[in-house]
């Protein structure tokens, strides 16, 4: 098998100088600003309410917690392969990407702007455990405002895409936001769920869910599983440019017209069927087997392309 980073073994001195092109490097390893820089066309990004404005959280200082000048989220506008987009990227290293009052207001403001500006899309680069617990109710209210603004943008005909390929994934309230988006784009490293694994283990016991079994965590919340369940519309390799390609593919395939009652009822039927089909499963592996995938045990190790080929053989249900 080919070594994964053969590229870095070129002769001196280029090996050391060959810092990967910003768009081909790992989405997972990049931070919020590097993700935006890699996704958007060169020098096209304009930030709103940037760190110079010092709109930090008012709730952290009384708790003796250090704040961040951007409150852990970068929002702005720019061009993605020439298309004008609004974009937000959460800074996972700051308080686990938690949504506080200011952080949430920046996201809500961006989504509301979409209604008047009608960009090609709003891109939400999620890297978050959900509500920032330090800010309690302010964070919860922020989530509900983000949800409302997301649906309002979609109702106005603007596609809202969730990009999930980060260390924190998208959990808690932001997991709900992701599923309210027009489409979810994930890498297998990304995770999407409601309660985090540790929370489930704490509340329901290790028999219910062993959060230390990281392989299980990924088989239940990871990008591959979410793709197989039909919750992630596209699964991409962990490269920033792969996410950019996926954004274009998703936009070309989407027609945002607001969810009609018919569509909602269809979705409800699909989800009811899903519970009937898989409700007793304890592990993603069991679901994959029921989907008729041959040798489901090998799925976790497959590259994205190999995985998509293997997934194409599944029988249904779902999707």
């Amino acid at each position: 098998m080919k070594p994964p980073h053969a590229k870095a073994t070129a002769a001196e001195p280029s090996a050391v100088n060959a810092v990967h092109d910003s768009s081909t490097r790992s989405f997972y390893e990049a931070d919020a600003r590097a993700r935006i820089a890699g996704l958007l066309d060169r020098a096209s990004f304009r930030e709103f309410v940037g760190p110079c404005r010092r709109m930090a959280s008012p709730h952290l200082t009384p708790l003796d917690q250090p704040g961040a000048f951007d409150d852990g989220v970068v929002v702005g506008e720019g061009l993605l392969r020439g298309r004008r987009v609004l974009i937000a990227a959460q800074q996972g290293a700051f308080l686990g990407g938690g949504v506080g009052e200011v952080h949430g207001a920046k996201l809500t403001g961006l989504l509301e702007r979409a209604v008047t500006e009608r960009p090609a899309a709003v891109l939400l680069l999620l890297d978050t455990g959900g509500v920032r617990l330090h800010e309690a109710n302010a964070g919860l209210i922020a989530i509900s405002e983000i949800l409302r603004a997301t649906l309002a943008a979609r109702a106005a005909g603007v596609a809202v895409l969730a990009l999930i390929g980060s260390g924190n994934g998208a959990f808690g309230g932001m997991g709900i936001v992701a599923r309210c988006c027009s489409a979810v784009l994930m890498s297998e490293e990304g995770r999407l769920s409601l309660s985090g694994p540790e929370v489930i283990e704490t509340v329901r016991g290790v028999e219910e869910f062993d959060a230390r079994d990281r392989a299980l965590v990924w088989r239940v919340t990871g990008g591959k599983h979410r793709f197989l369940l039909g919750e992630a519309n596209l699964l991409v390799a962990d490269r920033i440019d792969a996410f950019a390609d996926a954004v274009l593919a998703a936009l070309d395939g989407l027609h945002e017209s607001g969810d009609s009652l018919v569509a909602l009822e269809r979705e409800q039927t699909r989800l009811s069927q899903r519970i009937a089909d898989y409700g007793d499963c304890r592990d993603g592996l069991e679901i994959w087997r029921r989907q008729g995938i041959a040798e489901p045990e090998r799925l976790p190790l497959l590259d994205t392309a190999e995985f998509l080929a293997a997934a194409a053989t599944r029988g249904t249900p779902c999707n």
């Binding site: 070594p3 994964p4 090996a15 050391v16 810092v19 490293e189 392989a215 976790p300």
Partner: protein
């Protein structure tokens, strides 16, 4: 009155006679294990409980802790590692009283508590080699409780890749009329190979669960920081290349894992393949897989194995020591000897370094012990054979008029601040306070300053071999101690002078640009990358599978 000269042998016969009812052809049922221990062991006995760095005779440890303290008491435990709660339960329950050991890792805090309450009398804290040595001098076990992967009907043992301490313990016990009891994961008709012959084993118990093995040496590359990449570049260019380090041992940790992962990329780009890092005394670190696959590594002898590496090691028998059955054979005593006498360099991390270069992992309320680091990290004064690296280091340390000799390279690699912003450089080691509290005869120093050849931090490398006075040495250490209080108190002129002489070398001085220190240089950035490098042979424990 004439003396009988076989008291030990008679004691052995007496014990075996008491145990006769429990055994059928050496095999004892798991439910009789506690009774067997109560029959075989006598109050005051010296008992070796096999607790290794990795594999644990956990079932026998639990059985011993369940014994009746009326029958078994005042035992003297001799064991290399205390890592399970049961290892201390025997003291809490009054079954054992005295302890000679080497390393306590996860039980370090509880051990300190029991010592403070006078529940444990510590004989001494050893290095592995010292303790093994004493098994053959004055700490020979009367009864040894060991663990193996499998036994056959005759009582031959197969220890599998994690042989570790078993041969040393059994040899010391069996050849001085002691009794050897083995827990095994399974009893089979035919063993893949015999690691311990049946004649040295008295009882075999099929344990209800496989023995516990800790994946101690697995470091997830995803957690390596760019500062650690920079330090690894410094180590490779500033030390490995400089001295031509070809035979070496790495301590555990992310710092050294970063070096291993830079060999196929950065070191290769410097043209160092085939010139450095060919021979290792090292556990099968998953982080070494890319270097092995790239042809950097020729041989690795291991203290123990590593969970998940079994198939990979078996498939790379050119590199690792394996039996005819294909699986690895490790041996802690022999690999420690290899690290001490046959390696030119040890590099490892520590918690605290003082101004003389003494380093310690002790904190005031933890008795962690030593393990193997003091042997790996010391200049072996009994060494006589020469190598280029050893001679060069010796020449740098030489004083006019002295007999020329070689020197081992002992590198302490630390970030100036550890987690929670604790400074790695201090005026006074916490080891002093621990020594007072636990009434130890000496502060527990892991590596003495006069054995350290280099201190490496993100600020640069201090070559202590080139220091001519105690003051120079202190300033060389301060000169790489960054923004710690120790670093800020440097004499700037003297430090610049040391830099001019090459005693201190900054990244710039070595032609290393700090902005090149990118995670992109790591040959593997995730555990999954390691699996890919291994061609699917490495099977990481599930706690490391982020996919």
């Amino acid at each position: 009155m004439t003396r009988e000269w076989n008291d030990l042998a008679q004691g052995r016969s007496r014990r075996l006679a008491r145990a006769a009812g429990f055994a059928q052809a050496r095999q004892v049922r798991a439910e009789d294990a506690v009774a067997l221990l109560e029959a075989v062991i006598e109050p005051g006995d010296r008992v070796c409980l096999e607790g290794n760095n990795q594999k644990q005779a956990d079932f026998l440890a639990q059985c011993l802790a369940q014994a009746d303290p009326q029958r078994l008491h005042d035992l003297h435990m001799v064991q290399s590692v205390l890592s399970l709660p049961a290892h201390l339960d025997v003291f809490e329950r009054g079954i054992a009283r005295r302890l000679d050991f080497s390393f306590s890792g996860p039980q370090a805090t509880r051990l300190a508590g029991l010592v403070a309450e006078n529940r444990i009398e510590i004989g001494a804290i050893h290095t592995y080699l010292e303790l093994f040595g004493r098994y053959f001098v004055d700490l020979t076990p009367r009864v040894a409780l060991v663990t193996a992967q499998a036994a056959d009907r005759d009582g031959n043992l197969y220890t599998g890749p994690n042989t570790e301490d078993t041969p040393v313990i059994v040899e010391a016990t069996a050849f001085r009329s002691g009794i050897v009891i083995a827990q095994v994961n399974e009893i089979v008709e035919r063993l893949p190979r015999v690691d311990i012959p049946a004649g040295w084993v008295d009882f075999v118990i099929a344990a209800p669960r496989p023995n516990h093995i800790e994946p101690l040496f697995t470091r997830d590359p995803a957690q390596i920081s760019e500062i650690q990449v920079l330090m690894a570049m410094l180590a490779i260019k500033g030390i490995y290349a400089e001295y031509g380090v070809d035979r070496l041992n790495h301590g555990i940790g992310f710092d050294t894992a970063a070096i291993e992962l830079l060999l196929p990329t950065y070191a290769e780009s410097l043209g160092l393949k085939g010139k450095i890092c060919r021979h290792w005394a090292l556990n099968p670190h998953p982080a070494l897989i890319p270097a092995i696959e790239s042809g950097f590594v020729q041989s690795v002898h291991s203290f123990g194995s590593e969970l998940g590496m079994e198939r990979y090691v078996a498939a790379r028998s050119d590199v690792f020591f394996t039996g005819a059955d294909g699986s690895m054979r490790s041996n802690r005593a022999l690999s420690q000897t290899a690290g001490l006498y046959a390696c030119d360099l040890f590099i490892g991390s520590t918690l605290q370094i003082d101004l003389q270069g003494n380093s310690s992992t002790a904190t005031r309320d933890r008795i962690a012990g030593f393990g193997g680091a003091p042997n790996m990290g010391s200049d072996a004064r009994g060494r006589r054979h020469a190598s280029a690296a050893w001679l060069k280091a010796g020449a740098e340390a030489a004083r006019p008029g002295e007999m020329p000799r070689g020197r081992k390279l002992v590198v302490q690699m630390v970030e100036t601040f550890r987690e929670h912003m604790a400074p790695a450089f201090v005026d006074r080691l916490d080891a002093w306070e621990l020594a007072e509290r636990a009434k130890l005869p000496l502060p527990p120093v892991m590596i003495y300053g006069d054995d350290v050849s280099h201190v490496l931090t993100e600020e640069g490398i201090a070559n202590l071999l080139l220091c001519r006075t105690a003051e120079e040495r202190e300033q060389a250490i301060r000169g790489v101690a960054g923004y710690t209080a120790v670093g800020l108190q440097r004499d700037r002129r003297m430090v610049e002078n040391l830099r001019d002489r090459g005693v201190i070398r900054r990244p710039d001085d070595l032609g290393i640009r700090t902005r090149d220190a990118s995670r992109d240089l790591l040959a593997a950035r995730t555990v999954k990358d390691l699996v890919r490098w291994s061609g699917g042979l490495y099977d990481p424990p599930k706690r490391f599978r982020h996919w």
